[in-house]
């Protein structure tokens, strides 16, 4: 057996990795085995993406009502910035630029849900984006909570949230006027 990474040396190291509860086996030569570092690096991406790419196909590419046997495949438009096509991304596993994330918005959404289990960034924001952006997002979130509170007839909570939103909106207006 030849090493799966360099396809040169004989594979003498057999590595197991568990990804989302599934076992992936890798057969590598000593050198490649020791070099591997990033978790995603050595697992062929087709394996990572397998399964839910079919999901993407069935969800978006096959129009409902067709049997699925001879689907009319909607050609995904290439990325407007870098020209990457969705098919190239599927085989290569790497996106071409930041705009790819919006060019393939639907597909990326499904992909992230599957790979990451989430489609919402909860972490750090670049400082240069300023407090404004963080505020706007907070306001959106608070509005949603307020709506829920009203629906649940929790009016006390709804009122509290309304006040909180007002404070943030005021700060936001001041920020916008400054710019």
């Amino acid at each position: 057996m030849v090493c799966e990474k360099c396809k040169k040396n004989p594979a003498s190291v057999h590595m197991q990795q568990f990804t989302n509860g599934k076992k992936v086996e890798l057969h590598l030569c000593q050198e490649c085995a020791f070099k591997f570092d990033n978790p995603e690096m050595l697992v062929p991406l087709e394996n990572i993406f397998k399964g839910f790419l079919d999901q993407i196909n069935s969800k978006y590419l096959i129009p409902p009502g067709t049997s699925g046997k001879a689907p009319v495949v909607r050609p995904a438009k290439p990325c407007t910035r870098c020209g990457m096509t969705f098919n190239k991304f599927k085989t290569g596993g790497r996106l071409g630029c930041d705009v790819c994330y919006t060019s393939f918005a639907k597909e990326v959404e499904v992909l992230l849900k599957n790979v990451q289990g989430s489609t919402r960034h909860e972490g750090k924001y670049p400082r240069r984006m300023g407090a404004g952006l963080i505020n706007k997002r907070q306001i959106t979130e608070l509005r949603a909570s307020q709506k829920r509170a009203v629906e649940e007839e929790n009016y006390e909570e709804a009122a509290r949230l309304r006040d909180e939103i007002r404070v943030l909106e005021q700060a936001q207006n001041e920020e916008d006027n400054r710019q």
């Binding site: 990474k5 003498s12 190291v13 057999h14 590595m15 197991q16 990795q17 568990f18 990804t19 989302n20 509860g21 076992k23 000593q30 050198e31 490649c32 085995a33 020791f34 070099k35 591997f36 570092d37 990033n38 978790p39 995603e40 690096m41 991406l45 990572i48 910035r81 870098c82 020209g83 990457m84 290569g92 596993g93 790497r94 996106l95 071409g96 630029c97 930041d98 790819c100 994330y101 990326v108 992909l111 992230l112 790979v115 990451q116 289990g117 989430s118 489609t119 919402r120 960034h121 909860e122 972490g123 750090k124 924001y125 670049p126 400082r127 240069r128 984006m129 952006l133 997002r137």
Partner: protein
Amino acid sequence: MSIPWYQESLTDHSEILSSRIRLARNIKKYPFRRKLTGDDASAMVEEATLAVTGASTFFRSLDIQSLAKPEQNVFLEKHIVSPEFLNGNLPKGLLISDDQNVSVMVNEEDHVRIQAIKPGEGLTLAYETAGQIDDLIEERVEFAFHTEYGYLTACPTNTGTGLRASYMIHLPCLSKSDMPNTILPQIAKFGVTMRGIYGEGTAPMGSIYQISNQNTLGKSEEDIILGLQNVTRNVLAKEHMARHKLLVTQKSQIEDTVYRAYGILANSRLISAKEAMDLLSDIRLGYITKILEKPKPTKQIYQIMMEIQPGHLQRSVGEEMTEQERDKIRANYLREIFEN
């Protein structure tokens, strides 16, 4: 000046060998690596390099492409660079602190990959360091960022925080049992993955595992780190249980294993990396359980493990060696350490 993490006085008694943080970032102005060619690639590397060196005087630029292969491999074996980074002739940059504990790869899979390593348990500290470097670079370039998805990366497996947190851990007792196989699916449920290096389906090389977060989106950096710390604590508790059980039920066998390992390392004439790693792991278990207290080399066992890797050996000798020559040099090196 501080010393590299692998020489620092982490004891031979702790299961956590090192803590590592990696942040993946891309500069908005340029497409990702797949679509980055020619002049754009050179311009990106130049701009990113300037941003990093401008961010802190603490980095020096290292022209890794001009180094000989064994020298490059040393950086691989220390996990400072990745094989993907070394492959190909695309323009690239490596910025590194004097002690090598903080580094930035420019034009790896993502434009900027910030890495901070600390000895032993130092994940929070490593994140603080990497985060500061991130902030400083970000003052000079605009990173690709999406209000819903966070930091955008070439591979969607890194999107969001772009954070990969990991520990190198030594699990000599668990790897003597079938436990790792039962643990792995359990920790996967918490978005954590653990990898060992397996020789012919037996125990991982040197019983060393890397445990890291799988997901980068949907949780804050602090929560990702906390989650990994919790899972790791549980894995270590299982290791302690396994050790306790071994010491109660198989004390003589463990003593025998430890002393035999010492005997072989002090006497062998030819030894492969795999065999040496496993014996070093047994000796380390001896120090952990206090079965073995003396003799004890002045170097940490984990450091020795690293120094017997092909690149490190090759560098110390200078000329190209065959695998058998390497096994001989390795045996000589280990005898010098363990003979007395």
